[in-house]
Amino acid sequence: MSDERLDVRKTYKLLINGAFPRSESGRSYKVSTKSGDFLANVAQGSRKDLRDAVLAARGVQAKWWASSAYNRGQVIYRLAEMAESRRDELANHVGAAEGLGEQQAEQSVSRAIDRIIWYAGWTDKIAQVYGGANPVAGPFFNFSLPTPSGVVAVLASQESSLEGFVDAVLAPIAAGNTVVSVASELRPTPAVLLGEMTATSDFPAGVLNIVTGVTSELAPTLASHEDVDGIDLSGVNLDEANELSVSAAGSIKRVFRPRPNDTDPTRRLRAFIETSTVWHTIGQ
């Protein structure tokens, strides 16, 4: 008898409403390293997985926004703590997926974790920086309050498997939105790992949902879904983005497309915010 241990192979599953299901469709697909070696079998999400994810995101959005900004910051910071303790695993996957050397991969993970903390810090500053007390000619206060758009669909960057994903999903979440994300089609595993970490970070179920699969198959469903309030088109090319924007206009979604060489990291934070204006009498 051999004393060689059997491999414990990992199944990379979706994250929907705090649970890790396989795709409703039963499909999966192979993901390779940059150099073409087998990396993992990943669930191939479907239209109905997205439907379930949007339902979950919609259900929890009011609760997420109603929790204090301070509390939301703590939850996101906790994600950074979890990521820090699994940074080697993240680095291995980022390195394999993006074809980076060990050191480069570790730097990428460090940047990603630092960005998580950066977004954690923003939760209670968005209202200070982007809100305001407006001068009016009368005995009233007039406030502009940034409020979340609601449910945001994210087609995450195809190239940047972790950093790009962190930026795309945490910016709307920090602002009080809930997110249904489609991870990078060919490099999904770092995003799946990050999703697993939200399970130990006090993220309410449904705040971040991750569906892996074929972006071009999944994107139209999200763009046309009337219960989605905004869409981030980072992960599609210009032609696809134009087509999806037209579809998104059908339900008046906010559409975000990253600019090339953008130096303003707050653009994403501001992308899915609505400003509500409140009047209040002075002295009451």
């Binding site: 439907r51 949007v54 919609r58 046309s224 879904h225 009337e226 219960d227 059908g250 339900s251």
Partner: protein, 330 residues
């Protein structure tokens, strides 16, 4: 007292042949009733649940789904049975019942609005000139714990206010302790008090413990003159379940076969999604047959179900998922 023999049917096929004339046997004594109910075959609980699970896997798509959704909408008893009900709330519910989706006139209106007796008059005036009926719960709904005198007054109230349909609850305590004659007489008395109004008898299957009891209670209610048998009040922890509904559908089918009288079935409580509703329609079709696929023979007691049906209907037409906020709450 009629002497027409009751032929008890245990066959589980689809070919229902109804007796040509309506010959519901009169029950003269509790002993006779007990012997009739005692002769009913027991229910194979494991087989029943397996059959329900099997039928729940039927896939209904495209144009069939659209037709089924419209049929389900037309079978809804749009219900509000809350202590906080107000006349205004009933009025808005009635508006929704007549025109479930104001943007789309092809959506059928629902079958009925179901309210407490004191709100029947309001519902009647709000629904005047429409095809939507007014149903009222009565007989000390939902517990049924009141004297016979009070229960009949409750029914009279509802009928005088203009209810087309009365949903009564049976005395589960009496049924479970074997006093079936008492339950029978109560239903007969309520049926008489209903006059022209249709009588739905709520068995509260969640409190009847066994499927055998569900079958016996269904026969009891039908022999006593029920026009509908209804699963639940929606006020206890176990509401309508597909197996209980299947037992009741078998009962109405067998009753029709041996007596010629067609009794309807109403499932109520906890049915919130289109998927659930379509599964019930499959049960109806596969058990009682297509004769029961009509609002006259099958109803859903529900409130939030209607919005889900409307959302799925719109989704089928538009090809995109729709927004729940676009439909009025109840």
């Amino acid at each position: 007292m009629s002497t027409a023999p009751l032929r008890l049917v245990t066959r589980d096929d689809y070919g229902v042949k109804f007796a040509s004339a309506s010959v519901v046997p009169a029950i003269g004594s509790e002993t006779q009733l007990k012997s009739v109910l005692g002769a009913l075959a027991g229910v194979d609980a494991v087989g029943l649940e397996a059959r329900c699970a099997k039928l729940a896997t039927r896939s209904i798509k495209k144009s069939t789904k659209l037709e089924a959704i419209d049929l389900a909408i037309s079978m809804v008893d749009l219900t509000t049975l809350e202590g906080a009900d107000t006349p205004a709330r009933v009025s808005s519910l009635c508006a929704k019942a007549m025109r479930p989706d104001p943007r789309d006139l092809t959506v059928p209106s629902v079958a009925a609005v179901c309210v407490y007796p004191d709100l029947v008059a309001r519902a009647r005036s709000a629904l005047a000139n429409s095809s939507v009926a007014v149903a009222s719960v009565a007989t000390a709904f939902p517990s049924g714990r009141a004297s016979m005198r009070v229960k009949l007054l409750d029914v009279n109230d509802a009928v005088e206010a203009g209810a087309h349909e009365v949903d009564m609850v049976i005395d589960r305590g009496a049924f479970l302790s074997g006093r079936v004659g008492e339950v029978f007489e109560e239903i007969v008395a309520v049926k008489e008090a209903c006059g022209e109004a249709h009588l739905k008898v709520i068995l509260e299957t969640g409190e009847l413990v066994t499927y055998d009891n569900v079958r016996r209670a269904s026969w009891l209610a039908m022999l006593a003159g029920a026009d509908f048998v209804k699963t639940s009040t929606g006020k206890v922890s176990v509401n309508a379940t597909p197996p209980a509904a299947l037992v009741m559908l078998e009962a109405v089918r067998d009753f029709a076969e041996s007596t010629g009288k067609l009794v309807g079935v109403k499932v109520a409580g906890g049915i919130r999604t289109t998927k659930d509703a379509l599964r019930y329609l499959v049960l109806v079709n596969e058990t009682a047959g297509s004769t029961w696929l009509s609002p006259d023979r099958f109803r859903f007691g529900a409130s939030s179900l209607l919005n889900d049906l409307l959302m799925q209907r719109l989704k089928q037409h538009r090809g995109a998922y729709v927004r729940s906020d676009d439909f009025s709450g109840d």
